[in-house]
Symmetry: D2
Subunit: 298 residues, 4 copies
């Protein structure tokens, strides 16, 4: 159902800390212009947990305004199933293309609970669902066994695979064939996952470097592995910024440098400072200085 490069976008704030819809439109528009295949809002990169219910719906609407016919997904990552269902229903009413669902971001569900909460939220939202499996961040693993259990509900169409173990991609294919659209959710495993058969990339650094991200994706899908690998090697120091406790601040700083936007975050986050900031800034500037020429993509 879905494929390609789906940016998990950052949320833009005004100096007063409110949503800056104009700046979101500008930045996200650049991604769509560069060839991205849709948008995912209010994910962990979008500081979804620090946004109110109403702010999340407003952010969704802004994305819908500029996405045209491309899909826009809203991330659902509530501590309680009740609240998750409420948000899922509101997303449906607001016309979202689909939901990305984190099974349980606070309590670490065991498999039967994982299945139950995913089914309950999906039924409430009644939209196509990308399951977000990230045992590293949330200590809940949506394993191939669990996917098999969920396969009878057609709402579950995709899996965002963020187990941090590249082996999982092949395990899903071996167990489930192409029942689910497999997306990699880990920027610095993307070449490996896409080469092993993933059909999409829920991407992070794409928000600052959309053309390079799209190029890697399309070159791999065209069987032009060597060309893709060359860009990927250049891109890797930046992609590593996505796999970090500080991914939001890292990527917002990269955006600020690359796109001329701001890097405001909400508490408890602070913008990067000190050595860490210096290192990230240098990485981004070095990457820009050595930016490869992209080959024609067809």
């Amino acid at each position: 159902m879905w494929q390609g490069v789906l940016p998990a976008v950052t949320t833009k704030f005004t100096p007063e800390g409110d949503l800056d819809h104009a700046e979101m439109e500008r930045c996200w528009g650049l991604l769509l212009d560069a060839g991205c295949d849709g948008l995912i809002v209010c994910g962990s990169l979008g500081e979804g947990s620090m946004l109110s219910f109403e702010e999340r719906l407003a952010t969704l609407k802004t994305a819908q305004r500029i996405a045209g016919s491309k899909p826009v997904l809203l991330n659902v990552a509530e501590a309680g199933t009740r609240e998750a269902c409420e948000l899922a229903r509101a997303a449906n009413k607001a016309g979202a293309s689909g939901l990305m669902i984190v099974p349980s971001p606070i309590y670490h569900t065991e498999p039967r609970e994982t299945v139950a909460t995913l089914r309950t939220i999906a039924a409430a939202g009644d939209l196509p669902v990308m399951i977000y499996s990230n045992r590293v961040a949330y200590r809940v693993d949506v394993t191939p066994e669990i996917l098999e259990d969920l396969a009878d509900d057609a709402r579950f169409v995709a899996i965002k695979e963020s187990s941090d173990d590249i082996r999982r991609t092949t395990e899903i294919f071996n167990r489930l064939g192409d029942r689910f659209d497999v997306f990699t959710g880990v920027d610095n495993l993307a070449f490996e996952a896409l080469t092993a058969g993933a059909v999409g990339w829920v991407a992070g650094l794409v928000v600052a470097f959309p053309r390079e991200t799209v190029a890697i994706y399309r070159l791999i899908k065209a069987g032009r592995y060597a060309e893709a690998l060359a860009i990927y090697r250049w891109f890797r120091p930046l992609l590593d910024l996505d796999v970090s406790t500080y991914l939001v601040q890292n990527i917002k700083l990269a955006e600020a440098i690359a796109l001329g936007t701001n890097e405001r975050v909400r508490g408890p986050r602070l913008p990067l400072f000190g050595d860490r900031r210096d290192r990230v800034e240098k990485l981004v500037r070095d990457a820009i200085a050595t930016r490869p020429n992209l080959p024609p993509l067809d």
Copy 2:
């Protein structure tokens, strides 16, 4: 400022899933009757993350109604600092005795952020604060270094030490003397922590076995270690239920057996089932069957 046994109470629900204030009054009253020194509401054992803002304040009020002059603390564990401040202000207005604050339950703050968010929330609430340090559950560690940094704000009066490493108790004393009231927050390290100098116990199994918990505490504080150790050894298989992904369900089942209450939980949790349920049920029944006679506590 605070000391003794402070139960982190569970939240009681009606069959419809709403708050059951009458049952909370009944169960919590048993704890106070048994000699507990106060109450902490809406913690992780209280499913605080699955309660709405209003429900948390209502739960606080119920606890205040029965606690008399003993302190009642409200747990604050919000993903965003903004929402945490809002809850802290409401707790103050509602007359809470103090706050227990989790620095950042979703994002893993680095030390400067940990300090900043704790200071901000404490200032908003303007109440005495017990800092809840639990690097295992939240992957944010409030180290002795950070405590030292926070020591200049007199609102920070206590630390709930749940690092899961008994060494930490001595490290806090070595660095900070008795600046902070050190509470152990790990049931099955309580004998060790209290013997090493902790002044209080934020307890879990106490909600089902209050008299035994209070006895261990008081015996240690009276220097009657051997008597305390004998009860503790009997209690350990139960206390282990507090150090588990399934602590809420474990302890609610223990309460159901010991106090004749229900074990309802909110999603994504399910009540225990299968082998795990059988094991816990057997543990609780065996413990009840071998319950020790408690010595006079003076």
Copy 3:
């Protein structure tokens, strides 16, 4: 200097527990006939730590007898640097093609110690060296930084990359270009590592399934990724047996089934038993039953 598929062979024992040189010749000969590019003896899969000094040299000689002009490497994995140097000198004298060196299998060296011991052992052996970097098994990591430090000694020609993180392959290329021959040492990351640029595969399951292993390697190097991936997906449940505490017993059982050899091990290992044995046996038999036809390789 080296490339291709290098089996880390198992050691064969007689019913009395002594070395069974005839059976080693038979089994290893099958590997070379199937197109393997050399042999590595006395590695962890070869139970090197359970062999005496003399047994290791005898095993080396057996391998040399049948390898012809293909390289034979001896693994050096001694707790003490003194003993490692002694073995390295003996390997040189015995005409080994090279050494595979584990920096420190008991004590966990810090980087300066890692460099010092690797340099000392390499100098004593004065042979080409493949550095065996396996932080999972030995908790010593030979990072790209350390490789850079070692690059001035021409004896260090190759790295067996077993960090269990596929990202490392690209990191080595980004930092060191092709200074070192990068081998993957993790069977179930081999497709990913070889497509990302590794030039060789120190393989495990190859000892039971040599033709399939060689086919995957050669197809990737010929740019025929889709054909390689199809075989790899079939092979994955078997390759997973290499990434296990019980890899020796797993792989010896696979060999016993596939090649009609025995699965004897030395203590403290016992042959597989119970459910684990049943699972492995079923995996191997299922794989044999569904063995793919291999495409012509040139």
Copy 4:
């Protein structure tokens, strides 16, 4: 059978790297004079893995010469069961009081293998055995369940509990009563383990600070917890040096400062250098400067 403070002594080397028996006699004699209850040689702190078979027996003999009627144990920690049995037999012949046995320091045995290898080595040595359980260093855990399985062989008399989890002490008592002499093997958990019922302390920093170690032990056993705790708090920064990858170098540096001995180690270890050395040196000098007066122990 055994109890009290048993130092796991360091091994002394001459400038040429050979054993320095005279210096070992001098240093170990200080420990016995201070009231230690025996000696354990060739443990991990004694760099046993870097000593030859003959050197280990020579070290044992040196310890026996000065220990008088106090017990001397030889550590057995061989990769292969065959070699472990050989060493155990030699220790018996040399008149060792007992063996400390590490089940399997390279391969990570599963429980049935752990039991089998421990039984085999104990039978070969036919001496009283202290089982060394250290899942952190060796990733093999001798659990209470395994102890229960081994309890029918009277040779197993003691357990050196180094699981790094203080809970384990109580778990052993709850499951096995006093069938085994429980020793703590973790310096900076010693107060906690001894107050929870352990009967002995296999100690590390004792080699530099024997009188303080013995004082803590005896005060606890006399029920004088507060006096013991005061010394323990002073001692903790030093005791932390025992729980470190660099424990050998740390403790040898402490010995060098406190006893005027040398700190030579065997490769792959290097003596401490840089910031780490400065920190340890400062810790030791600060501790000496603030050394508490020890109360009379009667």
